[in-house]
Amino acid sequence: MSDALNGLVLDELEIVTRADLCGNGWVTPEELDLLASLGVIHGRGQGYPATCLRIVRRAARLKRGLEADWEAVAVIMDLLHEVEALKSELRGLKARERQRLAPGDDPHVFPEDGEPRD
């Protein structure tokens, strides 16, 4: 097997340049500026957080695939972001629920004596 490959972790700490974001043909420098003006990406100093690589790639895929304009792409990206945040929260809540319950327990089943009565 080959030597281990090191990649770039796309997180907020790593910084990439405009050239990194435009160099793979997803967007032109003008489109990148438009995405920034629409609030889809936010620059940091002279560059952008590496998470923007993922955002720009996704925005370009949505634009091409859905034949949408950049303004619509910005709305879709916002909504997708919100859906993902909610899914992540739900995953956390489910994991919490799983931990809280011993196997076989079901929170929705009341013991007979505890059944709410009118």
């Binding site: 097997m1 080959s2 030597d3 281990a4 490959l5 090191n6 990649g7 770039l8 972790v9 796309l10 997180d11 700490l13 793979n24 043909g25 997803w26 590496a50 690589l53 993922r54 790639r57 996704r58 370009a60 895929r61 949505l62 091409r64 695939g65 859905l66 034949e67 879709i76 997708l80 993902e84 992540s88 956390g92 994991a95 919490r96 799983r98 931990q99 809280r100």
Partner: protein, 305 residues
């Protein structure tokens, strides 16, 4: 090579108008675009739709495709007619998915659809599920990929590849690692590989960002009187002082004991008081003694209900 029925792929009659084709594409794109779709196999389906649209939206390509006739069945073995004169006009329209490769069928009729700047290989996304321990300590993991390569005849053939990828410590659920040049090959260089990390659910710890949550079951007397608990962390067991008078739902914070990072996360120990079963006369007597001797009403704040 197999014949592709582009009309069937797009759910269209052969008589469909340009407007019908556009409408069908938009409808299918909304359903199968991998960034918004929940359908299984959406990416493959979307590429197929993209290729069909590439042909049917272009009057020249569509006319050439129609000249093949309507007697062909989807997936039927296909060789272009000997006198085939397709169109090799521009390909890789704006909707084409990250410089995707077209099928052999498409290329036999229209040549490679990719032109100019888009001749860089397509980027690829792969998914890797790791354990929380791997995410904490960092690890080197094999990633198996199927990447299409061109054989000696220029045909696309799937090739299995295994990459050994270093996973840095502190990686989080859903984060991506970009491996430059490890995507699909292309005339102007290979695309990149985006490796998306998932962390398998852990039986003990629940991650929330860089923080970890662990539920610690404790006895009523440990909670009431205080205790020293041996608590597992991903870096090993630590001793934690449980203050007297602790209650279920309270949290103890172990600063910096969460996932590595700048700054590192914390580990929270969630206290959960577990009552011993009253399954013997001795146990029941102890509970009765508590009921007698401890003037305790946890529902006092309800008032006289």
């Amino acid at each position: 090579m197999h014949y592709r029925d582009y009309y069937r792929i797009m759910g269209l009659e052969r008589t469909a108008s340009a407007e019908d084709i556009k409408r069908a594409y938009r409808k299918l794109a909304r359903r199968y675009h991998p960034d918004v779709s929940k359908e299984p196999g959406a990416e493959e389906r979307f590429k197929e739709i993209g290729e069909a649209y590439e042909v049917l939206r272009d009057p020249e390509k569509r006319a050439a495709y129609d000249r093949l006739g309507s007697q062909w069945q989807a997936e039927q073995d296909f060789t272009p007619p000997p006198d085939w004169r397709g169109t090799h006009g521009g390909g890789g329209g704006p909707h084409i998915f990250e410089g995707q490769e077209f099928s052999d069928f498409f290329e036999s009729l229209f040549g490679s659809g990719r032109r100019g700047a888009s001749a860089r290989g397509a980027d690829e996304t792969a998914h890797l599920t790791i354990t929380l321990e791997d995410a904490f300590h960092g690890a080197t993991k094999p990633v198996r990929l199927t990447i299409p390569q061109r054989d000696a005849h220029g045909r696309l053939v799937p090739e299995q590849r295994t990459l050994n990828v270093r996973i840095p410590k502190g990686i989080q659920q859903g984060q991506q690692i970009r491996l430059a040049g490890q995507g699909n090959p292309g005339r102007a260089g290979a695309g990149d590989l985006y490796l998306e990390i998932a962390i398998a659910p852990h039986p003990l710890y629940r991650p929330d960002g860089r923080d970890l949550y662990l539920t610690a079951p404790v006895t009523p007397w440990e909670a009431a009187l205080g205790a020293r608990l041996k608590v597992p962390t991903l870096a090993g067991t630590v001793e934690v002082r449980l203050p007297e008078g602790s209650q279920s739902g309270q949290k103890l914070r172990l600063k910096g004991r969460g996932m590595p990072g700048t700054p590192p996360g914390d580990q929270y120990v969630l206290i959960e008081i577990v009552n011993p079963k009253a399954d013997s006369e001795k146990a029941r007597e102890l509970y009765r003694a508590m009921a007698r001797d401890l003037a305790f009403d946890p529902r006092a704040h309800w008032g006289a209900a």
